[in-house]
């Protein structure tokens, strides 16, 4: 017999996943955006294309390797795009609670004898599964069409997706906590929009931290996104030992996720008490 709270959570998750699977527009648009980032941003930053004006570089110096620690910016950037997918998927994951509240569906669920905790967590879990699916597709596109290589192979790729899903849980938790507190879409949208870009830019997702000024570098240290990007990047461009060395980063992401899911649950329970 499955514990009731798990069954309830799965029912909520099931509904959200059905929505995702049935809405081709949503699926398409969430996929197309990262692909655009990859193709345009990823190909624009490439030192191999830069005309050095006749300056001679010794053959053992590769500027891409020097700045990005990868053979191309694209190889460096793919980890950032995967994390970006998780971040966006998570941060807008709490939106459905506000939507359900407005439609009256939330009251319908609350009138049933289902565990209160499961309503929030079910939606958080579904956001994570969705982000995992999207990140997988994006990763496969990058590998198949854009020539990105994963140095740790298929297992490394799978681990990278799992890390992205873990990060997504954290931001879906944050989003759910906001959704439980503000209760209206009009108030929620600007808050979410305000959060996403700084979280993305103040991390090592887009640019190597070695290029950042000190103050920015300090900020990245407080951003959980950084702690997810680094291990994922290690899986894509480095090797297993480097990844193992970054395991403490994963603990940071894990703690962060647990804390935010707990916060979301507490705030949600309070909002419907």
């Amino acid at each position: 017999m499955v514990p009731r709270v798990l069954a309830d959570t799965w029912n909520v998750t099931w509904r959200e996943l059905k929505h995702f699977a049935r809405s081709r527009a949503a699926m398409f648009s969430t996929l197309i955006q990262p692909v655009i980032w990859l193709t345009f941003m990823g190909n624009a930053f490439n030192f191999s294309n830069v005309n050095l004006g006749g300056i001679y570089l010794p053959p053992n110096i590769n500027l891409n390797q020097l700045f990005f620690g990868a053979s191309s910016y694209l190889d460096f950037f793919i980890a950032g795009v995967i994390v970006m997918t998780a971040l966006f998927g998570g941060i807008f994951g709490g939106f459905s609670i506000v939507w359900d509240r407005r439609l009256g569906y939330l009251n319908k669920m609350l009138a049933a004898p289902i565990s209160r905790t499961s309503i929030g967590t079910g939606k958080i879990v579904s956001a994570s599964i969705r982000a995992g699916f999207q990140a997988t597709i994006i990763g496969l596109i990058a590998v198949a069409l854009l020539g990105v290589k994963v140095t740790t192979g298929p297992i490394g790729f799978a681990v990278a997706i799992l890390i992205a899903m873990l990060l997504c849980l954290a931001f879906a938790g944050l989003s759910m906590a906001i959704g439980a507190s503000v209760k209206s879409m009009e108030a929620m949208m600007p808050i979410l929009n305000l959060l996403t870009m700084p979280l993305l830019f103040m991390s090592s997702a887009m640019f190597p931290t070695s290029m950042m000024p000190d103050w920015m570098l300090t900020l990245t240290k407080f951003n959980p996104v950084t702690y997810a990007v680094n291990p994922i990047r290690a899986l894509f461009v480095s090797d297993w030992p480097t990844f193992i060395g970054l395991l403490p980063d994963l603990i940071v992401v894990g703690v962060f996720s647990i804390a935010l899911i707990t916060l979301a649950t507490v705030l949600f329970r309070r909002s419907v008490a």
Binding site: H19, L103, G104, Y105, I114, A273
Partner: protein, 397 residues
């Protein structure tokens, strides 16, 4: 053991933060198998009462027992024995009809085989079996409402709560929904608690009706008895507005006549919902309230303070429509013989009668008699229309 009452409410009270008294010491008992109606204008406290009875809002004071379980201390037991169909038509557009029903059954932890059988039953009961596998976004408004009701029945609740079951539906669809509701009582032996602001609906469906206004029960009885309490026939008399004094003189004279029973007094206070909106707006202005309290239609949040403010200003400038037009509702023993006499009295005084009509008392008149206001006055305000429009838009989407 048979339970004495399906619902027992004792001094149920809800005061929202900031002092808004939505429901004030409401007590009633509902028998098993009864269709019980809560009749009142929007904002009278109907939805808030339901919210408390279905355990979504805690009462500030008092309590109630639903199927013998306390709504404060035995919430899950209450939730297991009730079905709730909100006024919002809360069905999931992206799922098929059957998926909606099955998901709801899973929320009630029905075993798989039972759920499958029961889903077929409720879909058939509400005549939805032919379209059960279509996505709900292709359904009409009436079908959605039926699906919503079907979902509320999936776990065979002992008590079914229907909040404004025919709000925003056209007349044919309303008739249909009425048929289903009576069928539920007859065939499923269900106790039904419904709220409505349609008099005819309460009259037609309910075994007993509670008239609720400003959070208080003003009268509670079966519709026939309520109507007979008002008296014989009601003569609605409209006297030309230019002869205000003569009109009053005429009424004074009519009061002395043997056929006269009573005069239904009217007043021009802002009606329930609007008064409460005004309170809410006031509190939001003072920063005492964040957002719209639960129990109010959620759409109210997007109307904004300006709508409320402009409404309040207009409301305070507005004079009583009834008294301003010199309209009087007079209860008489026998309308047919009273009319010639009323003409005689008015003629003697020289007051011009613009129109006169006679009718048997309806629940409208009962409402008017108990609250001093006509329920019909509620309709037609801008706020009401906006909210209605929002609801309709949601239903069509």
């Amino acid at each position: 053991m048979k339970m004495p009452h399906a619902i027992e409410a004792k001094n149920l009270t809800k005061i929202y933060p900031g002092g808004l008294k939505a429901v004030n010491k409401v007590s009633f008992d509902i028998e098993e198998g009864e269709i019980f109606g809560f009749l009142g204008p929007n904002g009278a406290g109907k939805t808030t009462t339901i919210m408390m009875l279905i355990t979504l809002t805690n009462p500030t004071d008092g309590t109630a027992k639903v199927c013998g379980h306390d709504i404060r201390t035995e919430r899950d037991a209450v939730r297991n024995c009730i079905g709730y169909v909100s006024q919002d038509v809360a069905v999931d557009d992206q799922l098929t009809g059957r998926e909606n029903i099955v998901l709801q059954g899973r929320f009630y932890h029905l075993p798989k085989d039972v759920l499958k059988k029961r889903a077929d039953e409720v879909l058939k009961l509400l005549d939805l079996q032919d379209r059960a596998n279509d996505k709900v976004e292709t359904y009409s408004g009436g079908m959605r409402k039926r699906l919503d009701i079907a979902g509320g029945l999936i776990h065979r609740p002992e008590v079914l709560f229907l909040d404004e079951p025919t709000l925003g539906l056209d007349i044919q669809t309303r008739e249909k929904i009425h048929e289903y509701i009576t069928r539920l009582q007859r065939e499923e032996k269900m106790t039904i608690f419904l709220t409505t602001h349609y008099m005819d609906e309460a009259d037609k469906l309910c075994d007993r009706v509670a008239i609720i206004d400003h959070g208080e029960i003003k009268a509670l009885d079966d519709p026939e008895k309520l109507k007979s309490k008002v008296g014989g026939d009601i003569v609605t008399l409209r006297i030309a507005p230019e002869s205000k004094e003569k009109a009053q003189e005429t009424i004074a004279e009519i009061r002395k006549q043997p056929f006269f029973q009573s005069l239904i007094e009217t007043q021009s206070a802002p009606s329930g919902m609007m008064e409460q909106f005004a309170n809410v707006a006031q509190m939001m202005k003072k920063g005492k309230l964040k957002g719209i309290p639960r129990g109010f239609p959620q759409g109210a949040g997007s109307l904004g303070r300006e709508d409320m403010k402009s409404w309040m200003t207009r409301q305070s400038n507005k004079k009583s429509t009834i008294n301003g037009k010199n309209v009087y509702n007079i209860v008489v023993k026998d309308g047919a013989t009273a009319i010639p006499q009323i003409f005689k009295v008015a003629g003697a005084i020289g007051a011009g009668i613009e129109s006169i009509s006679v009718k048997r008392p309806s629940l409208d008149d009962v409402f008017l008699a108990y609250t001093g206001r006509a329920l019909r006055e509620e309709e037609g305000s801008r706020m009401e229309h906006l909210m209605q429009a929002m609801r309709m838009r949601r239903m069509r989407q």
